[in-house]
């Protein structure tokens, strides 16, 4: 179904090959910019070698996990490539992740080393159970010294099947689980996406998403593959987002719908000015038509590209702008060199327009979840023709040209503010709150925000505050209701239809 050649997407390359190839080709091009400064590819590569040496000196070797909870800064990009060089595994966790989940992640990942911001060292040491926890400032002083003398490690044997990164993500379980991301599959996914998006050497990609999220992580790799520059932005600059986008000369801006809404709100209070943005790439959820139109009005000439996927294979499909008018409701076609189609309950492929589960095959399908054999076996099943078939849990259909259409899910998993989560994990956090006897969560729907219902002795606002201490911001519901008893179905499950009615009845 894919007209594009797959010649460009390799399966046997390493994550740091992307950096080394970019450095060889254009050493003096800008590679990465953050709030504090800028590095060329040559400088980034030199720093990544210094990280490699530093890790070696600390005894970090093949397969050791290095857990980092750091904001989006250049140092983190160097840590990513340096850890890859070492053959070790980077475990980037969201800075918004609270102790409640972080403890479980540390237990599951068993890191050999943890690097966090200096103020967090004491707190993380307390939950890291004897693992060395270091502050970035001190770590970076040592790495900068190694970089100054152009230090090189004794080298490490790294192959495409070796794990480069563990990406923790939410699923149908209460605790986060990690998708295993080996070098070869990460590079394949990167290059296949690159073929569809076409990043160029003159592109400046404005990344407002954390590198702990695969959306941000792959932007780092995509910009290296495209010889482009990445600008790392965090929440501190949200009020001046438009100005930053203009000042940095950004040409590509990855978005989720809530970020697009914010950009439109900011654009309304400023007269239209010049911008270089040529492309917005969306993921996380469908972009409302009004938001897409708002973006095009504020950034004349910019395209909005639809994408669809999940960490388990990085990306399922992209809808190139050329097909926007012909297939406005599609979430795109499978990445070049991969397959995505729809099957029935027995795993038999369904003809076009029939609804079933979307499954994915190809060199971008990751090998499974870290230390979770049962969940791995359920989600990553053997494909009839060899390799793995990823069962996405997403339901939809394909058309006669093989383009995908997403319809929804049938489990407890949903997306909010672009982030995947489940009712299970929010309900688990809510019942952890003192005073809550039982809790139920209603996923967001058109015209209805994510809502939590609790039975117990607690103020609904206090419940949200307590949840914000246990969950990262995107997972905190917008609506909270305290009820006498939670409505149950005849089967004893949460009656979500009744919950929706309660919400509508109480709505202002």
């Amino acid at each position: 179904m894919n007209g594009e050649s797959t010649a460009g997407a390799r399966t046997g390359a390493l994550v740091h090959d992307l950096l080394d190839e970019a450095t060889a080709e254009c050493p003096d091009a800008w590679a990465v910019t953050d709030g504090a400064g800028r590095w060329t590819y040559r400088e980034l590569a030199a720093h990544s070698h210094a990280v490699d040496v530093w890790l070696e000196a600390r005894g970090i070797g093949h397969g050791d996990r290095v857990l980092v909870q750091l904001p989006s800064v250049r140092e983190l990009v160097a840590l990513l490539y340096g850890t890859a060089r070492r053959g070790a595994v980077l475990v980037p966790v969201n800075t918004g992740m609270k102790d409640y989940h972080l403890r479980a992640v540390v237990e599951n990942a068993e890191p050999a080393l943890v690097v966090v911001t200096d103020p967090a060292v004491e707190r993380i040491t307390a939950l890291a159970d004897g693992v060395p926890v270091l502050g970035l400032d001190g770590v970076w002083r040592e790495i900068a010294e190694l970089r100054a003398v152009e230090a090189r490690s004794s080298g490490a044997q790294v192959g495409p099947e070796d794990i480069a990164v563990l990406v923790y993500t939410s699923g149908s379980t209460a605790a986060p689980k990690a998708v295993i991301c080996p070098h070869g599959r990460m590079v394949f996914a990167t290059e296949a996406i690159g073929l569809e998006l076409g990043y160029r050497p003159d592109d400046v990609v404005f990344c407002r998403f954390p590198i702990s999220w695969d959306y941000g992580l792959y932007k780092v790799l995509l910009t290296a593959a495209g010889r482009s520059e990445i600008v790392l932005a965090d929440g501190e600059s949200d009020l001046v987002l438009l100005r930053r986008i203009r000042e940095t000369g950004a040409t590509v801006v990855p978005i989720v719908p809530s970020l697009a809404t914010m950009l439109c709100a900011l654009a309304e209070r400023e007269p239209r000015r010049e911008s270089r943005v040529r492309m917005f790439t969306n993921t996380g959820a469908a972009l409302p038509k009004s938001t897409a139109e708002g973006l095009r009005a504020a950034f004349p000439g910019a395209e909005v590209v639809v994408q669809f996927g999940q960490t388990e294979c990085k990306r399922v499909s992209v809808l190139p702008p050329a097909f926007r008018d012909a297939k406005p409701d599609s979430v795109g076609r499978p990445l070049p060199g991969t397959r995505a189609f729809v099957v029935d309950e027995e795993g038999t492929p369904l003809p076009p327009w029939e609804t079933g589960e979307i499954v994915v095959e190809g060199p971008h399908v990751m090998p499974g979840y870290w230390r979770a054999p049962e969940q791995t076996a359920r989600t990553f099943r053997p494909a009839p023709d060899g390799g793995l078939r990823l069962h996405t849990g997403d339901f939809g259909h394909v058309d006669e040209d093989g383009f995908l259409y997403y319809e929804g899910r049938r489990d407890d998993v949903f997306k909010h503010k672009g982030v995947r989560m489940s009712t299970t994990e929010i309900e688990a956090a809510a019942t952890d709150v003192p005073g809550v006897r039982a809790a139920a969560v209603l996923p967001p729907a058109p015209g209805r925000d994510l809502a939590v219902f609790a039975a117990g002795e607690i103020d609904p606002h206090v419940l949200l505050r307590e949840l914000s201490l246990r969950l990262e911001p995107a997972k905190v519901p917008g609506v909270s209701r305290v009820v006498d008893e939670l409505p149950l179905t005849a089967h004893g499950k949460h009656d979500r239809k009744q919950l929706a009615r309660i919400l509508e009845g109480n709505a202002p």
Binding site: E236, D238, L239, R269, H461, L464
Partner: protein, 83 residues
Amino acid sequence: MWDEQFEQILRPFLPFLPPQEELTPGTELKDLGLDSLGTVQLLGTLEETYQVHFRDSALTMDTFRTAGVLWETVESMLQRTAG
């Protein structure tokens, strides 16, 4: 202290604050549930209601850290307009 209108505008952006609980000038708005999108929308609402324009130098998260600091910023703009 701020005028009534200011608190009326602010409260809907603070989902963790029970209606019967007092809004104190020093409490971190983030701890009361003000997020990035809320901050941007709050900015637009304040500008529209008070007919003021936040200067670029005031567009930092520090300005929106507490109700006290935010009101001071709004008030100083109102005084400039009046003067």
